[in-house]
Symmetry: none
Subunit: 220 residues, 2 copies
DNA sequence: AAGGATTTCCGCAGAATTATGGGAGAATTA
DNA sequence: TAATTCTCCCATAATTCTGCGGAAATCCTT
C-alpha cells in the first residue's frame, strides 16, 4: 500500500481528491499550505501531488525541496494557469507528470497508478528480496545472507509462485495447477507436504495457512 | 445485456441517441423530464445518462437521488454550458464521466462502453472502505488502520455479503443461502452466532439487528 | 409493567481441516 | 546397478472452526 501526500489549498477539491485516492486503497495525507507540506517531506511518502499556486510556499519551491531530500520521489503537478503548465514543461522542474484544471478525479487516479507502477515496479533484474532472502528466479537460486539454500524443483516452483504473489491467498487447486500442471490427478494433500518441506528449509518465510482456503506468503 | 436510462428534453437528440445506444445491444429507456426519470430510479438501470438542463428537476438534483438510492450506479453527464462542466468537476457530484455538447453519438457510445466495463466487469478487484476498515476482497483480508484482522472463512463471507449490500436489511434466510449455501438444513440460529463473532472481531462495524427480520450493515 | 417473543451470550464437543512422522516407490545420479 | 534423493501417500496428532443448547438480556406488544 502506497502513501500519497496531496497539497492543494482549495479545500473542496482537496476533500474530493482524498476520497477518490483512498478508494484505491492508498493512504492519503492532505495539506492546504506549502509550509505544512514542507515539514512533512521527511516522512517520505511514495508520491506527491502538488498544486502550483499556494498561499505561502508554491509548488515550484516545494518540488525543489522534495527532490533535494530524495531525488527519486515522484511528483505530479496540478494547475489551472497555462503559464504554469508552460513553466513545468519548459523548465526542468523534475515533475513526473502534470494535469490541468479542471479535471475529473479519476483522470488523476489513472495518472497516479501509472506513476506508481513505473516508480515502484519490481526491479528489472528479476531479483526478489524477502527479508534476509534473495531470490534469483532465472538461476533458480535462493540465498540467505549470501548463503545458498538447496531447494528441489517443486520446492522452488512453489517459492516462486508465492514470492511473486505476496499477500495473496492461493488455493490448493491453484497451487496444484501452477506447480504440478493441470494434468495431475492425485490428492491435493501433496500441497501440504510441499509447503511443509519449504517451511522447513526456509524457516524465515512466513507461509501462513488459511484454514479452509489454502496458503499465502505474508509480506516480510 | 445492460439497461441504460437516458434523460434529455431535446426530443430530437434524444431519439438519435436512443437509436445509437440500442444499436450496441443495450436496452434503453428515455425520459424528457427530470420528474419522470426520478420515479424510475427504483428500476435500477445499469447506467444513467443525464442532461444537466431540464425543465423541472435538473441533472444535479437527479444524480443526488440516484446516488442516494444506489451509490454505485454509474452516471454520465451531458451539458452544453461551461459553468455546468466546472460544477460537475469542482463539486463532488459523483459523476463518472461527462461529455460536452455538441458531441458525436459514437463518442458517447465509447464512453458508455468504458464505464460499463469498469463498473460491471471485475467487481472483485475493488477495494471496499468502511470507516477505518479497508477490505480487500480478492485477498480475503480486512485491515483496521493497516492492522490486519483475522477472520474465518464464514466470518469473511458474511462480511463481504454485508459490505457489498450496505444499508440493505438481510433476512436470516438470505444470509443462510449466501454463506452456507442452499443445501444447509440446520437451525437459522447459526446466523446469530456468526453475526456475534463478526461483531466481536470488527467492533466498529455497525451490524444492526432488525427485530423480527434479520440484520443490516449501517453505512459508516 | 408484565409477559411472551426474539436476540445475545457463553462454553463446549464434535466436525472439519491441517501438521507431522514415517515408509514405499519413482526418479535421478553415481 | 546401487545409492541417493525426491515425491507421494497414509495414519495419527494437533489445531481450528462451527453448531448447538441453555441461560441471560433485550425488545415489542398489550
Amino acid at each position: 500500500m502506497h502513501t500519497i501526500y496531496l497539497v492543494d489549498d482549495e479545500v473542496n477539491l482537496n476533500r474530493v481528491l482524498v476520497k477518490y485516492l483512498e478508494q484505491e486503497g492508498w493512504q492519503v495525507k492532505s495539506f492546504t499550505s506549502g509550509e505544512a507540506a514542507a515539514s512533512a517531506i521527511i516522512e517520505k511518502p511514495d508520491l506527491w501531488i502538488l498544486d502550483i499556486m499556494l498561499p505561502d510556499l508554491d509548488g515550484f519551491q516545494l518540488i525543489k525541496r522534495i527532490k533535494a531530500h530524495d531525488e527519486t520521489t515522484p511528483v505530479i503537478f496540478i494547475s489551472a494557469r497555462d503559464e504554469d503548465i508552460d513553466k513545468i514543461i519548459g523548465l526542468e522542474m523534475g515533475s513526473d507528470d502534470y494535469i490541468a484544471k479542471p479535471f475529473l478525479p479519476r483522470e488523476l487516479v489513472i495518472r497516479v497508478k501509472k506513476i506508481l507502477a513505473r516508480a515502484y515496479a519490481a526491479p528489472k533484474t528479476g531479483v526478489i528480496r524477502y527479508g534476509d532472502y534473495m531470490i534469483y528466479p532465472e538461476k533458480r537460486v535462493i540465498e540467505e545472507n549470501g548463503q545458498e539454500i538447496d531447494l528441489t524443483s517443486k520446492e522452488y516452483d512453489l517459492l516462486i509462485l508465492f514470492a511473486t504473489q505476496i499477500g495473496t491467498p492461493m488455493s490448493r487447486e491453484q497451487i496444484l495447477v501452477s506447480v504440478w500442471g493441470d494434468d495431475y490427478f492425485g490428492s491435493d494433500r501433496v500441497v501440504d507436504d510441499l509447503v511443509r518441506r519449504v517451511r522447513k528449509k526456509l524457516s524465515k518465510l512466513e507461509l501462513e495457512t488459511i484454514y479452509g482456503i489454502g496458503y499465502r506468503l505474508v509480506a516480510a
